[in-house]
């Protein structure tokens, strides 16, 4: 059995390698906001209020491109709706928490933290303080995201665009799923999702980001049925 402190540390260490992607992306995110002409306070406040990388960029790009606030807000909602799936997965491990703790820890659920803590949870189902792992991973990502977007806001146009730092984002997620390429069922689900995302890329409100997981999960259900 792990102590709370050990779990916190394990959570922190599990997402630490992802900083090679989160920090450059956060810097780009802050820099883009400034470049688009928004006030530094506003750009930074999004990192606290929304706390969701891609959705923050999309929101500012839409507004600066003349889209209505309704479209910008809807897009953020659609992009971040994938967290419903993360929550559904995590709820199994968090169900013993009090309602207040559930409300608080939910704020920290983001892609990489979900991915790494979920991997840990699957292997350590019976640990009593599992949520400390999520606190460690989510808390680390939160702090780094704040510092990275702040740096981007300060550095602004000094961030060289030709570096293509945004490319670090797909790479960090490749690192998360790459070991599952060993399992044929997962490969089928991944390819379904990936191809759907390209097919539906132009769907309104960036909805490809939730449409393709839904299609992929239906395929997963089919695969499960065939496996029996």
């Amino acid at each position: 059995m792990f102590t709370k402190k050990q779990l916190l540390k394990k959570g922190l260490l599990s997402v630490a390698p992802h900083m090679f992607s989160v920090i450059p992306f956060g810097i780009v995110c802050g820099a883009i906001g400034i470049e688009l002409g928004f006030s530094p306070v506003l750009v930074y406040a999004m990192s606290i209020i929304i706390f969701g990388g891609a959705s923050q960029i999309v929101f500012l790009q839409l507004l600066s491109g003349g889209a209505s606030a309704l479209i910008a807000v809807t897009s953020v909602g659609v992009i971040n709706s994938r967290h419903l799936l993360y929550g559904a997965v995590l709820s199994e491990y968090l169900e013993k928490l009090s309602f207040i703790k559930k409300l608080l820890i939910s704020y920290l659920v983001v892609d990489q933290g979900f991915a790494e803590s979920n991997k840990f949870f699957q292997k350590n189902k019976n640990e009593p303080y599992l949520h400390y792992h999520l606190l460690g991973s989510g808390g680390t990502l939160w702090i780094c995201w704040q510092l990275a977007t702040l740096s981007g806001i300060i550095l602004g146009s000094f961030v060289p665009e030709e570096l293509g730092l945004k490319f670090a984002v797909p790479l960090t997620f490749i690192a998360i799923v790459v070991q599952d390429l060993k399992k044929l069922d997962h490969v089928i689900v991944m390819i379904t999702c990936g191809l759907s995302s390209l097919l539906f890329f132009d769907a309104p409100f960036k909805s490809y980001i939730i449409i393709s997981p839904i299609i992929a999960l239906f395929v997963a259900a089919l695969v499960l049925r065939l496996k029996k």
């Binding site: 390698p17 971040n80 820890i105 998360i176 790459v178 990936g194």
Partner: protein, 103 residues
Amino acid sequence: MTWLSIIIAGIITYFMRMTMVALVDRDLLGEKVKAVLAYVPSAVFPAIIFPGIFINDYGTFIEMNDPKIFGAIVAIVVGYFTRNVIATIISGLFSYWIIIFLL
């Protein structure tokens, strides 16, 4: 107006994070649903990976000789064999940079 939009977007995002954890009783989900949920990472992350590689900043498909494809292949091979997140990210970024800056 922009501030109000950010706050509403933040509240919506928070509800997406919180609803399934705090408001929905997990027993409502059947065993079959739970089995399917095990595929969530594989069903979600490619929707971030594929467009991040194959679609450029202007929303159009990249050429098949784009350095991002090379970078992604290197990252997949390195990640598969090293099981190391840092090696995966760095190898992908560096191979991408080598092509755009040196070749």
